[in-house]
Structures are given as C-alpha cells and as structure tokens.
C-alpha cells in the first residue's frame, strides 16, 4: 500500500494494488477508495516472465553505500540446508523501474515481481517518504528514499529454517554494508568505512557477467543476535545520528550483554572441562579473573568472538591515535604503546570517555579532530560489534 497526503487538510489516502496488467512489461495500478480517479501506475522495467504459483514473499528495506544499481544480491544462509541456502534477493528499487538497468532471468524476475506486489499490496505501507496528493505522475522514488535496496525473502524457503527471523541476520548484513531501515527508523547516517567496503567487495568484485552476487550469511548465533537490545540496535539505533560519545556507549552495550555469557563460557570451557588439570592456585586465578571486566573482554575478543586481524589492527590504531591526539598521559610512551592489545585499548577507551570525559575538551586540543576521531572509532566499533555477533561461538 502507498499513502498520499492531502496538501490542504493533511488527511491520508490509502492506495492499494488493484490490478497488474501488461504482456511485455507489467503495469501495477493502485487505487484509493477515498480518492477515486486518482489512480497511480508504475511499470516494472524488466520484461515480464511466467510466475510460479504457491510462493509468497516478505520485503525489507536496506541501504548500502557501496552497492551499485546493477548489482543483484543473491542472499543465502548456512541455516537453510536445502537449495544451497538460498532465501532471497536484494534489488535496487529504482533500478527495477529504470529502463535497461536490470536484466533478470525468470527466477530473479519472480522475486522482483513478487517483491513489488508486496510493496504495493501489503496492508501497512513500507514507503519512507511523505507524498502529497497532486494528481501528477509519480515515480517510485517519490515514495522511497534514494538508494533504497529491497530485500525480497521467499517465505517458503525461510520457513525451512527453524524459527527464522530476519532480525537475527541484521548484524551480519550490516557487516557487509547493509543497514536496515523503515519508515519508523529512517536512515540518518550510514557507515561507509573502508573495512565494510572491503567486506562488501569481497563478494562483489570482480564484476560477474550475470550481475548476480551471492552473499552467504553464517548461521545466526541466536544466543546473542536474538537479544532484544541487539535487535533494537540494528533496527532502530544504528541508523540514527547521535552524539559520538553516546554512540560509543550505545555500541558498548553489546559488549556488556556479552559479559555474563563470557562468565558461563569461561567457567564451562576453562574450568569445568579442564578441572582435573587445574591446580588450586590456577583455579583461583581463573575464577578471580572472571570478576574483572578487562578479562572478560579478553575472553570475548581473543577466544569466543574473535574479530579479523585487519579490524583489530585498524581499531587498535585508531584508539591509540585518539589517545595521542588528546595528550592522554598514559599513552605518550611509544614503547608502551607498541605493546598495547586491542582489548587493553578498547577497554581503556570505554573507561576514559566515561570517567575522564573532560579529556575530550582539554585546552589546546582541537575538539573537531577529537570528534572526528571518535566518529572513526565508532565506525570501526560498529563493525566490531557486528562481527563479534556474527562470529560468536557460544
């Protein structure tokens, strides 16, 4: 369904799909009971093909700063055993209505067709822009944000995954540059860090003749990705602009969620499974270590959700640069700095911005550069959080 607003009294008129016609190209017609005669029509550009019966779809919206319009993403997951894990496709919404932009075979055409039917036929609108009723000719992009990517999931395929929920994959998709958004959670900021670009290009470069790029999502780590806050973060928070310090603390909440899980895992794996080999002193040392936040972060980043070396190095360096920039006395010794680990610095960064917030505004330190550095750290922390959720072995 699409909604148009009266320019004068602001009342809303719902336009629902009434007809799909045309032999070569399909024209979708939407009509409104409260605004008769003001039909809206859109023509799907890829040539029409036969549609198989018995399939239904769900549609979600994403943006990805690295995606180009001709790329069609073939989404798969290790959670689905059959069909090589295929669950759906991602298309640039605008490309579907741009002459010659996409050449789709029968299989992909069906996804695009059903996806558009869902957009126009669903009882709740997915449109992300407010549109005034003018009687003019509308473009699909009048209703949706620029660069909108439509994920079309085949419900029948997804049902083969136990308790399938797209929310469980949002962190993994984010890690490849795809940020979820909706009319309730508009995109205010996107993470265009080179690390995410590399992740995206790892499956889209070089150019494939068909223009179809398979993206295989690892099995969802339900123990963490189904946490209510984690879902809230990727559905509603990460898209929004926020103060940079607040943003870091918002991201750090995921680490906090991991902490109790680390205690269980560490006790299970390093204490219970190895009890016979532990001396009393070693056992005491281990247990006491579990009461320390730093030790738990080490457990997370070194054993249970290990980020890539590249990401670790990038984040470590950015945090170190930050401390040097703000002239923090603990980080002025190059020799000592060279021995810092990501865990040390990540935990230190969290502690300093909470307990020594004033360092951000020290006299003689360029506040704009400070903010830019925290922004960069946040971009990498977003990647870190997404990656730890994705690779967590719990």
């Amino acid at each position: 369904m699409l909604v148009l607003r009266d320019a004068i009294d602001k009342s809303e008129h719902n336009f629902t799909l009434s007809n799909v016609s045309g032999a070569d190209k399909k024209e979708f017609t939407l009509i409104s009971a409260t605004s008769p005669g003001a039909d809206i029509r859109f023509t799907l550009d890829p040539p029409a093909q036969a549609l198989p019966p018995g399939y239904t779809v769900s549609v979600y919206l994403f943006k990805n700063p690295f995606h180009t319009q001709s790329q069609v993403i073939d989404l798969r997951t290790d959670d689905r055993v059959n069909g090589n894990g295929k669950i759906g496709y991602m298309f640039s919404l605008e490309a579907l209505f741009t002459p010659g932009a996409l050449q789709l075979d029968n299989h992909r055409y069906c996804y695009s067709h059903f996806g558009i039917e869902f957009l126009f036929g669903n009882s709740a609108t997915l449109q992300t822009k407010v549109v005034e009723l003018t009687g003019n000719i509308y473009s699909i992009m009048d209703f949706f944000d620029n660069d909108t990517i439509m994920l079309v999931l085949c419900n029948e395929f997804c049902n083969q995954v136990v308790s399938f929920d797209i929310n469980n994959y949002l962190s993994n998709l984010f890690l490849h540059g795809f940020t979820y958004f909706s009319n309730n959670s508009p995109i205010e900021t996107v993470n265009d860090d080179a690390y995410l670009r590399n992740k995206y290009e790892s499956f889209t470069v070089p150019v494939i003749q068909s223009g179809i790029y398979p993206l295989r999502l690892a099995k969802a780590k339900i123990a963490i990705c189904s946490e209510a806050y984690v879902i809230h973060l990727f559905k509603n928070l990460i898209q929004k602009n926020s103060d940079q310090v607040t943003r870091f603390l918002m991201l750090y909440q995921v680490v906090e969620i991991f902490m109790p899980k680390m205690i269980h895992l560490e006790v299970q794996q390093r204490v219970c499974n190895d009890l016979a080999n532990l001396t009393t002193d070693k056992l005491k040392e281990l247990v006491i270590g579990l009461t320390k936040h730093g030790e738990l972060i080490t457990a997370l980043l070194n054993r249970h959700a290990v980020p890539s070396n590249q990401l670790s190095r990038l984040l470590l360096q950015e945090i170190l640069d930050f401390f040097i920039h703000v002239n923090h006395p603990e980080f002025q010794d190059p020799l000592r700095n060279a021995n810092q680990t990501l865990t040390d610095l990540f935990y230190a960064f969290r502690n300093k911005i909470v307990h020594e917030y004033r360092i951000l505004h020290a006299v003689g330190v360029d506040a704009q550069i400070t903010e830019a550095k925290i922004s960069k750290i946040n971009h990498l922390t977003e990647a870190l959080v997404a990656e730890t959720i994705t690779v967590f072995v719990g």
């Binding site: 004068i8 409260t34 039909d39 319009q69 741009t98 932009a101 003018t134 009687g135 000719i137 223009g211």
Partner: protein
C-alpha cells in the same frame, strides 16, 4: 451557449470570450475532453470539499467560471471584440472536434461529472433535469499560442497544487500525439502501436522528456518545480521561438523533434545504418551484459540519449546562442576519428561501465549523453563533430563527477 463578452488579453495575444452555458451543454463536451486526454490531471479534490460542492450545486449555487482554451488558427478571423458570431462559430467547431483544453476548473468538472453519474444511478430524473439546466460561466481563450496557453495554465494554477513543467507540457503538446506531421508519428505508451526502428515514429513521452531537458538545460527527467520556475521555463520557450528564423521552426517542440530526427538521419547515413554484431566485437569492447542498444536508433532513441541531447543543446544555446536550426545545419560535419563500428562499440562499452559502477544508472547515463553531445556539438570544443572523441570526453566527465574507479 451564448457568448456574453469578448476581451483581448494583450499579455498573451489572445481573445477571451465569456460564455454562458448549461451544465448539460458543458458536460456534453467536457467529459470527452477529460476522457480523451489521459494527461489531464487526475482527480485530486478531497471528498469533504467534493461533498460540500455537490450539495451546493444541488441548491443551485453559481460556481466560479471554468477556464477553457482553443488553439485553433482560425481565431485570426475574429474581427474585433464585438465579433460574437465568429467566436461562437469557432467555439462550436472546437467543441465538435473535441479541440479544447481545460486550463482551470478540472476538479470542478470532475465534481459535475460525478454528480451527474450519481443522479443517473439514482434515477432522480427531476433533480437531474434541474441540475442539467443550471447555467454556469466559462471563459474561453481563443487563439492561444502554446506558450500563451502554458502561461495561463501556470498563472491560473497559482496557489494550488502545482504541476511540473513536464506535466504541463504533456497536456500542451498532446495534439502532436494525435496527428502525424512531416511524416512523423508520436506514439503514446498506452497505444498498441510499436515505436519502430526508424526515424518516423517516436515515443511521445521520451521526446517530451528531451524537450523538457532542453528547456531546463538539465538531463534529469523528474523535476519538482515551483510556479516561478515554470514561468522562467516559459520565457525560455518564448525567447527561443522568437529566435528561430524559419517560420516553420517557430514551434519549439516541433523544432526540437526535427533536430533530433535530423541527427539520427545523419548518423544512419554516415554509419551505413550501423547495427551491433556480437561476432564482430573486439575483445576490448566486449560487454558483460546485453548492450545498451543494438543499433543507432536503439541507442539514440532511448530516453537517456534524448534527455542528454536536450540538456546539451539547451546548454549550447545558453552559452553560444546557437538555435536548434543552427545546430541542425552543422550535423553534416559529424564524423568519427575511428571507424563507425569501433565508435559505437566504444559508446556501448562506456555505457556498460557506467551501469556497473553507478548508484543511479539512468541518471549517470543521461549525464554521459549530455557531455557527449556537448563535446560533439558545442562550437569550438576539442571534440567538435568527432563522435569517438566526444564519447571519450563524456566518459571521463562522468567518471570524474561520479567518482568511478579506473
């Protein structure tokens, strides 16, 4: 229908006849005007206002004058503002031929039509007859030039929901899609007729897109504009039409179409009607997907090419004052420093590279064509009249502007 008064509108050089007519007479032709013109604006009046207006009509209220226009040449026959009989004759003939445009009052017409339908459905004959016999006033502009008509449409729409210039033009030039001229047929999307692979048939909307790009000097198709922008565009049309030396070329839309057609004819002639042959593509020009077009016409009749053509010619006119006619006269100098097959394959390869890297394929291809035509046709450019040099220049510009990787 009785003509009550005629005034002369000196701003737009047209007569304005005030007529009285019954609702029966008005609906007798207005329904056809709406039904026959799928570019007339859709119904947007909101239901509450419609309800009030309907009740008022049933109580015999007088509605504000509806404004209509006739662009027939015979208007010159009107001798003066007292010549009611000639005006009546012209109006009646136009009604008979459905040659009117509603320029203000479309929504009121929808309400009248809807009320008639309701009364017919209810079988309320007495109320229906009372309704039919009610009188309304209409102002009919006689002899409006297209620009005058557009000007009035814009100014009468002030304060209401605006139409884009592009939409106004659709209404304005609709008659070209009905009647062939100079052997050219313009085809609307809804018609079954196919746009053939020749220079005799064109897609009406695509040509309008190109013309709009010429006026706006902007290759993008959908432009939301305000009234002042509309008026500015109108001034451009008027000035351009005045600049055309040839009387035949005074209609800028027609002139634009003929210029584009001349470009296609020259390319066909010079390239020997080039066609894409997959087996004759050197490795450096191989494409990963189906090419943008498979013949001269398939490439240059697409919206992206025509809007780029329009935007470039608009730019050239702005910078060097060249009219469409003058640009057209130079087409015979177009050539390529490489052979024609390589030239077109290079263009196709560039368009594919754009497609693969673009975040907005359509817009980036339009951008490419704008620079292609700027290079090719701008007097004194380094690429002037050299197709392949113009293509190289255009791709460099688009890659730089859009940040493509090498």
């Amino acid at each position: 229908m009785i003509v009550r008064s005629i005034l002369e509108d000196n701003r737009i050089s047209a007569y304005n006849a005030l007529v009285e007519l019954t609702i029966r007479e008005y609906l007798g032709f207005a329904k056809n005007v709406i039904d026959d013109n799928d570019f007339q604006r859709k119904r947007v009046i909101k239901s509450k206002i419609k309800e009030i207006l309907t009740l008022d009509l049933l109580r015999g209220c007088i509605i504000p004058s509806i404004v209509l226009a006739i662009s027939k040449q015979e208007v010159a026959n009107i001798k003066n503002i007292e010549d009611f009989s000639t005006a009546s004759k012209i109006i009646n003939e136009s009604i008979a031929h459905n040659d009117l445009v509603i320029i203000d009052g479309l929504q009121r017409t929808y309400v009248l039509k809807s009320l008639e339908e309701d009364l017919l459905k209810k079988g309320d004959e007495e109320t229906l007859q009372t309704f039919y016999n009610q009188k309304i006033r209409a102002e009919i502009y006689l002899g409006l030039s297209r620009t005058g008509l557009l000007y009035r449409m814009i100014t009468l729409n002030t304060g209401q929901t605006t139409m884009s210039t592009r939409h106004l033009m659709e209404i304005l030039y609709l008659d070209y899609s009905r009647v062939a001229y100079d052997g050219i047929t313009l085809i609307k999307d809804k018609e079954d007729t196919k746009v053939d692979d020749n220079t005799k048939t064109f897609n009406f909307k695509t040509i309008l897109d190109g013309f709009n790009s010429y006026i706006e000097k902007n290759e993008y198709v959908i432009e939301r504009v305000d009234i002042l922008d509309n008026i500015k565009s109108l001034e451009v049309i008027k000035q351009q039409e005045e600049l055309q030396k040839n009387q035949e070329e005074k209609d800028l839309f027609k002139s634009f179409l003929l210029t584009h057609k001349a470009f296609l004819d020259i390319l066909l002639e010079k390239s020997g009607g080039w066609n894409y042959n997959a087996e004759d593509v050197p490795v450096e020009y191989k494409t990963n997907s189906s090419p943008f077009g498979k013949s001269v016409l398939d490439i240059f009749k697409k919206s992206q090419a025509i809007t780029g053509f329009g935007a470039a010619l608009g730019f050239i006119n702005d910078k060097s004052g060249q009219t469409l006619e003058e640009v057209k006269n130079n087409f015979s100098k177009i050539d390529s420093s490489d052979d024609w097959n390589a030239t077109f394959l290079k263009i196709l390869k560039d368009l594919e590279k754009i497609k693969e890297q673009s975040k907005k394929i359509g817009n980036d291809q339009r951008f490419f064509f704008k620079y292609f035509f700027r290079g090719l046709l701008k007097p004194g450019s380094d690429q002037e009249f050299d197709m392949i040099a113009a293509a190289n220049y255009a791709y460099k510009e688009v890659a730089l502007e859009k940040g493509y990787r090498e």
